[in-house]
């Protein structure tokens, strides 16, 4: 039972930030694409804006690893 809960916790630690990241990027992507169509010099900003929400899922992944290593 403990293993199941640990695994579930690790899965949720990745899944919830992944959904949040996907939602954030789905809003950022079209907005920055529209901006880049008018101002191509915004490409650097585009890279940064798209990469910033990925921090959530990356940190979620790290938390999941810690849960699995410590709890497993």
């Amino acid at each position: 039972m403990n293993t199941v809960l640990t695994t579930l916790a690790a899965a949720l630690a990745v899944a919830i930030p992944a959904l949040a990241t996907a939602w954030a990027q789905s809003r950022i992507g079209p907005a920055i694409s529209a901006s880049m169509a008018e101002k191509p010099e915004l490409s650097t900003t585009a890279i940064l804006l798209v990469a910033i929400p990925e921090t959530m899922v990356i940190l979620g992944f790290v938390v999941a690893v810690v849960i699995l290593v410590r709890g497993g």
Partner: protein
């Protein structure tokens, strides 16, 4: 940079500008001294400028239309008015000719598309169309319905029945293009009503094109098919004509472009000159080491007539000076990555050398595979061979080299060759740790790298703020507090001896008010942001582990598919996908770590690019005398 002032007699202004253009050293800026007025173009010069701009537009258009490759082109030493006139006429003729060829190509392609549409129709109703002629008292309508419009057919049939009873026949057949071909044969009496009905239902009929004569599609289609056979030959003739134009006039047009640009640049420089009734004054910026070359060049051409003096440092602000990034050859390609951000201000730190070291290192740690590294190196070599010096593609190929090298080195350290294939085939062992298993050591390594990188950024921030001691000390204290926080954490988890904990915490308590005094109330928030920045380097571990896991999964496909051959194909495809991901994701995240976490600590954007007044080149030329100090944007 040195700011220089060039003075001379007004009648020699154009000659001086010509020599300065040859020297290509001075970034001109308009002088602002009170008794000076800015030189203006005369009416003749303004006419010349408009004429040159129009001719240049024709040349550019002709070169683009003929798809003539960009090449460095030397400007002829002497360009006469006759040359310009000849080029303008040639460009005008070539432009008109290419536009005519383009219009003819578009028209032929359109005609081909139309014939293809009829051909499909003809194939669908070959037998019926041939018998169309046998219905002397009937009118045939040919309709193409789009893919989703099939529901229209039953509606059309019902409407026809309601309108003209049974005096029609309707045939429909789906086409390979997804459309539906419809042939409607109606008695002559009902034709008028049917036409109204089709118009009301917005069903578009394909008319028999008049160009092919005849009212019947059966008559027109053979002519169309003959025409279809002629079209490739006509298109080939157009291509030949375009090639001939490129061969005959390409070199002249390139020379014309360079010369016209050159003259326009010279005319644009005139309004940057300050003049009095008898003298002119030019001001601009020169790399300090190029001062002597400028003096020598002007002195050789004009002797004592023209005087160059240096404007003292007190008379200009740093923000006014243009910036040129100047780095050793090895680091130079990475200026492309720094160039994605606004230029650093004059006198601030040029981050290129740091990007050149850390970017490939981060990339290598995330990819960390000998096999992927070798493939990447091969890709870099191909790009290098197919690109020309000075282009972005060449810079990218030269960035790929170190990235591939670091990927291979990291692959050796982690014992990875296409995931775990090296271990299975060659018995490879990780020299450092296995990324797939040692998650926590990898995480700690990634965060430790983050500590080093962010601390380096803070130290650079303190150095770049050296002219503002309060700010510099504040950044130094921030760096010290980051170190103290990390030491406290290490002592708390027994990595360092416990006895370190208390003195480190005391140090933090002392440093905290000092930081607030120096940096204000936002300092604690910035400190927390800095600690968050360090944790952000965990992405190196996360992406690294994801990469190795994908590669391991790819290898497992060989045994999981039943057939070995199918398994190998799937494994190769999966490796290909992983390789593609491994190219983009680590690049974006390594860039982000630099732009957000690292640059945020010291980078001062807002510099103006150093653009010396010189001859026109498609690929911007690097300034010849490189400043010695590459650590500063100079």
């Amino acid at each position: 940079m040195a700011k220089v002032r060039i003075l001379g007699p007004r009648e020699r202004l154009e000659d001086v500008l010509r020599v300065l253009q040859d020297l290509s050293l001075v970034h001109l800026s308009a002088p602002e001294a009170a008794p000076l007025t800015h030189a203006e173009l005369t009416a003749a010069q303004e006419r010349e400028r408009r004429h040159l701009a129009a001719a240049l537009a024709d040349v550019e258009h002709a070169l683009a239309a003929l798809e003539i490759r960009e090449e460095a082109t030397a400007v002829p030493p002497a360009v006469s008015r006759a040359d310009v006139g000849r080029w303008a006429r040639l460009a005008w003729h070539v432009r008109r000719e290419t536009e005519r060829l383009a219009a003819r190509t578009a028209s032929i392609e359109e005609e081909r598309a139309l014939i293809m549409k009829y051909q499909q129709f003809f194939s669908a109703f070959r037998a019926l169309l041939q018998s169309e002629a046998q219905w002397p008292n009937a009118t045939a309508y040919h309709v193409l319905l789009k893919g989703g419009d099939t529901a229209t057919i039953p509606q059309l049939r019902a409407s026809l029945q309601a309108t003209i009873g049974q005096e029609f026949q309707l045939f429909s057949q789906p086409l390979p293009s997804g459309e539906t071909a419809v042939l409607l044969v109606v008695s002559a009496q009902g034709a008028g009503r049917v036409e109204r009905l089709l118009a009301e239902a917005r069903v578009q009929e394909i008319p028999v094109p008049e160009a092919y004569g005849g009212k019947s599609l059966t008559d027109a289609i053979p002519r169309m098919l003959t025409r279809l056979g002629e079209i490739p030959r006509e298109l080939q003739q157009i291509r030949e004509r375009r090639r001939t134009l490129a061969r005959d006039h390409g070199a002249t047009l390139r020379t014309a472009r360079a010369a016209l640009h050159d003259r326009l640049v010279a005319l644009a420089a005139l309004p940057l000159t300050g003049v009095t009734s008898r003298a002119f004054v030019l001001e601009g910026w020169v790399p300090a080491r190029a001062r002597r070359t400028l003096d020598t060049g002007l002195s050789a051409a004009f002797g004592d007539e023209v005087v160059v003096s240096e404007v003292s440092r007190e008379e200009w602000e740093s923000e006014q000076a243009p910036v040129v990034l100047s780095n050793p050859r090895l680091f130079r390609p990475f200026e492309t990555l720094v160039g994605l951000m606004p230029l650093p201000r004059y006198g601030s730190i040029d981050p290129t050398p740091f990007v050149a070291v850390f970017f490939p290192a981060f990339f290598g740690m995330m990819v960390g595979d000998i096999g992927y590294g070798v493939v990447l190196a091969a890709l870099g070599l191909v790009l290098h061979a197919r690109s020309r010096p000075g282009t972005t593609l060449r810079n990218v190929s030269e960035i790929i080299g170190p990235c591939a090298l670091f990927s291979i080195i990291a692959g050796v350290l982690f014992g990875e060759f296409f995931g775990d294939l090296g271990r299975r085939w060659f018995g490879m062992r990780a020299l450092l740790f296995d990324r797939a298993d040692a998650l926590i050591p990898f995480l700690l390594l990634a965060v430790a790298i983050g500590v080093v990188h962010v601390l380096l950024g803070l130290v650079l921030g303190a150095v770049s703020a050296r002219r503002h001691p309060r700010q510099a000390i504040g950044r130094g204290v921030s760096a010290a507090m980051v170190v103290l926080v990390i030491l406290a954490l290490l002592a708390a988890v027994d990595v360092l001896p416990r006895r370190f904990f208390t003195p480190v915490v005391i140090g933090l308590l002392v440093a905290f008010p000092v930081l607030i005094v120096l940096e204000g109330l936002v300092a604690p928030i910035e400190l927390l942001t800095t600690l968050g920045n360090i944790l952000s380097y965990a992405r190196i571990m996360a992406l690294g582990v994801a990469s190795v896991m994908m590669a391991v999964v790819a290898n497992k496909m060989v045994g999981a598919m039943g057939s070995v051959a199918v398994g190998i194909v799937f494994a190769l495809l999966f490796h290909l996908v992983n390789f593609a991901i491994a190219m983009f994701t680590p690049t974006i995240h390594a860039l982000r770590l630099h732009y957000v976490e690292f640059f945020g600590k010291f980078f001062s954007p807002g510099g103006v690019r150093y653009q010396p007044f010189g001859h026109w080149t498609r690929v911007p030329a690097r300034p010849r005398p490189a400043p010695r100090n590459s650590r500063q944007a100079a």
